[in-house]
């Protein structure tokens, strides 16, 4: 048992942290956000150079052979910096499917993903589905030698910059059946995409498929979707911890400098205790993010589902407390767009909601019997 980073991991994290510190300050981020893409193509190239885009893929496929923990460590740095690029969608979500795809497809796509020329997205949410991965109305059917997909997906993160979509679509079974859901790969040229800004300053899109030619990735695809989402939840947990740590640190710094009633507000015990409660929440979330890596790797699907649900609950609760309190302890200044703290709060709010918020998962976990077996 060892929670320390290996030497390789330390080197990776340090270099990424240095790169982001140099090139992704809060003011630089504002510039990136104002670009046409809503993020920085230059940074995207830098990620490729640093090996962040090929990180989780096997070396044989043209990747760098990193494990989930490596991905998570990068996600934490992305969280600390509130990066805007489609790294999570391309590498964690898209990459999760790609790693599980057929060898030819991997051979064809991984090098392109790794060099930054191919961006991926996951088209899953539908108008009625909310957070249920198995609630799929988009259809897929055989046509000629291949498949075509029809339907509409909403809230596709970075859907407006993706070159390819991994899409869930139903080819058999009724609404909300767990069977009959395939995973398909669709080229963006066969989709109609409407991009928009998300509340955390990121990008997403609504995507429509009308007789879109599609490559089958998995015919009974739900288990694959769940496995990929479990990994994504682990990465989101680390991202959230990165956000929380920054929000907490900013708050502490502010408390030490902001003067009211003739002394720093950090000298007021009631606020000190609030900051301590934030630390408790942060430590619990950090612990749970480690557990997330274990849970996502769990081979028993029921165990894995319970595990990641618990992760979403703890990380969501901690993120909410730290986000809200970081604003409250700052006071007005953190309510402004010009100040970074509010952006961490917004990102934590969005992070919680992705793949279902704490409320969704506490119910799911409770219905599933919880973590402690009554024996």
């Amino acid at each position: 048992m060892d929670f320390d980073l290996t030497e390789d991991q330390s080197l990776l994290v340090d270099s990424v942290r240095r790169m982001l510190a140099d090139q992704y300050g809060f003011e630089q981020r504002k510039t990136h956000m104002k670009s046409i893409e809503g993020w920085s193509t230059a940074m995207w190239s830098a990620y490729a150079e640093q090996g962040l885009l090929g990180l989780p893929f096997a070396e044989a496929d043209g990747g760098f052979g990193g494990g989930l923990i490596d991905t998570c460590l990068i996600a934490e740095q992305m969280g600390r910096t509130l990066t805007l690029e489609p790294w999570f969608t391309t590498v964690v979500l898209g990459g999760g499917f790609l790693r599980r795809a057929a060898p030819e497809l991997r051979a064809a796509m991984v090098p392109q993903v790794a060099d930054g020329s191919l961006k991926l997205a996951f088209a899953q949410v539908e108008r009625q589905s909310r957070y249920d991965l198995h609630d799929v109305a988009t259809t897929a059917r055989h046509e000629g030698a291949g498949w075509v997909v029809n339907g509409r997906k909403g809230m596709v993160l970075h859907g407006d910059s993706a070159d390819r979509f991994f899409v869930t679509a139903r080819h058999a079974g009724g609404p909300r059946d767990r069977g009959g859901i395939g995973v398909f790969l669709v080229d963006e040229r066969h989709a109609t995409v409407r991009g928009f800004r998300t509340v955390d300053g990121g990008r997403a899109a609504e995507v429509e498929f009308d007789q879109a030619p599609a490559v089958l990735i998995a015919e009974e695809g739900l288990p694959m979707v769940e496995a990929v989402v479990a990994e994504a939840i682990a990465a989101l947990a680390f991202e959230a911890v990165g956000c929380m740590e920054m929000a907490h640190t900013m708050t502490l710094d502010y408390m030490k400098t902001r003067q009211q009633f003739g002394k720093p507000i950090g000298s007021f015990q009631a606020l000190q205790h609030r900051a301590a409660d934030m630390l408790v929440a942060l430590e619990q979330a950090r612990s749970m993010s480690f557990y997330a890596v274990q849970a996502a790797a769990e081979t028993d699907a029921d165990e894995r589902r319970r595990g990641v649900a618990a992760v979403k609950v703890q990380v969501g609760r901690s993120g909410r407390l730290i986000g809200q309190q970081s604003i409250q302890l700052h006071g007005g200044i953190a309510m402004t767009m010009e100040y970074a703290c509010g952006h961490y709060f917004k990102r934590l709010t969005m992070n919680d909601s992705l793949f279902g918020g704490a409320d969704h998962h506490i119910r799911a976990l409770a219905d599933d019997g919880g973590l402690v077996q009554a024996a």
Partner: protein, 399 residues
């Protein structure tokens, strides 16, 4: 002991409700039901309708246009406006500056300003907070120096709500540097159009422009723009803040938002069923409904006491109203956002960005996250909830 409104008061409630139903512009109502703050035009238009009816300044004495209502009726009126929902009479004019002028102003000031305030012929804004004076308001630095028949104002105000709409600002300035913190401050009125005034927008985290920085650079106002005595502005400020007894309880507004929440929760699906069927979601809403009912009764207790005693002294309940009122409003805004699920992620407003041509998100989902973010301010401004606890501990618990 009689815990109910009188039959006459209930009749009054029906009268108000009927009037609002008939007179409130439909566009304003639709706009506000969607959770948006009314525009300047909407506020002015509605307040003039109320003014024509004699209802624009419920808190003012009859002499200055007030309707002469009891505390109960004022409460009923406020509630009905919030529940409609309709814009409330402009607080800066009606609840803040107006009462100060009535209490401390000269006859000339009253005659000049009050009728125009009631009709929003002038839109006022409040210049209290400064970058170094937030919770510790007495730390303010903005100066006014007497120069002949004028005050010369230099300094900066911040968090000035809707200064971009304002014709006038009422502000606290330091007029005696030698005096101790809360002394040496004066309450001064100032037209926003004067040379030397710069308004700089502050964009809040959800992207809205509600608040501003206001800079004063050798701004000259006539000496008679002083309200009350020189160096006694703290009395005006205390009086003004003391009037904020019910302002942040907003029971009617929360009730309206809960109604809205329940309507949305019937439409939004979760697990293939209407969200309202989820026991845990229902529980969370109900927890807030219970707190709101208790808060409503707390408001009634304060009103009933006011009706008997008219002493208007601060009492611990005022802090309870602030803390609970804002917690409830923040709680409802969070549930509204959560009810929207993934559809809360869309930034902006489809009405501003063009038609909602596909089904990007249900119309009701727009802006819910923004309101949640924005409403974090509620526990910060108007005396942060931490300051309220300090007040309670010191003034009422003797700690």
């Amino acid at each position: 002991m009689d815990l109910n409104f009188s039959a006459e008061d209930i009749g009054f409630r029906h009268e108000v409700r009927a009037f609002i139903a008939g007179a409130l512009p439909a566009a304003t109502k639709t706009w506000m039901v969607a959770g948006k703050s009314p525009t300047k035009t909407m506020v002015v238009e509605w307040q003039r309708i109320l003014n024509a009816k004699g209802w624009a300044v419920p808190e003012w004495p009859v002499e200055w246009g007030g309707p002469g209502w009891s505390a109960a009726r004022k409460y009923i009126f406020r509630e009905e406006l919030q529940m409609a929902p309709a814009p409330s009479p402009l607080g800066f004019n009606v609840n803040m500056c107006g009462p100060v002028i009535i209490q401390f102003g000269t006859q000339a000031q009253k005659e000049r300003f009050l009728p125009r305030m009631a009709n929003v012929d002038d839109w006022w804004c409040q210049g209290f907070s400064e970058p170094g004076a937030g919770s510790d308001l007495a730390g303010l630095k903005c100066r006014a120096v007497r120069d002949g028949d004028e005050w010369v104002i230099n300094g900066q105000k911040t968090w000035t709500t809707l200064a971009q709409h304002a014709d006038w600002i009422f502000l606290l300035c330091r007029t005696d540097l030698a005096a101790k913190k809360q002394e040496g401050i004066s309450f001064i009125l100032c037209p926003m159009g004067l040379p030397g005034i710069t308004v700089r927008p502050i964009i809040t985290i959800e992207g809205g422009h509600e608040v501003n920085e206001v800079f004063f650079d050798d701004v000259r106002v006539p000496a008679d723009m002083l309200v009350g005595e020189e160096n006694k502005g703290w009395d005006c400020a205390k009086f003004l803040l003391g009037n904020e007894r019910f302002g942040q309880a907003r029971v009617g507004a929360s009730r309206e938002r809960i109604r809205r929440l329940k309507i949305i929760a019937r439409e939004a699906l979760d697990g293939g069923e209407p969200l309202i069927n989820d026991p845990d979601f229902r529980r969370q809403v109900t927890e807030i409904e219970v707190e709101l009912k208790a808060l409503e009764m707390t408001v009634m207790r304060v009103i009933a006491a006011d009706m008997k005693r008219h002493d208007g002294k601060p009492n611990p309940t005022t802090s309870v109203l602030k803390i609970k009122g804002t917690e409830i409003q923040q709680g409802v805004s969070e549930l509204l956002m959560k009810a929207a699920g993934p559809y809360a992620w869309v930034d902006g407003d489809p009405d501003e960005e063009g038609s909602n041509e596909w089904d990007l998100a249900p119309d009701w989902a727009f802006g819910l996250a923004g309101t949640y973010f924005n409403w974090r301010k509620q526990s910060i401004y108007g005396g942060s909830n931490e300051i309220q606890r300090n007040i309670m501990a010191k003034a009422f618990l003797g700690l």
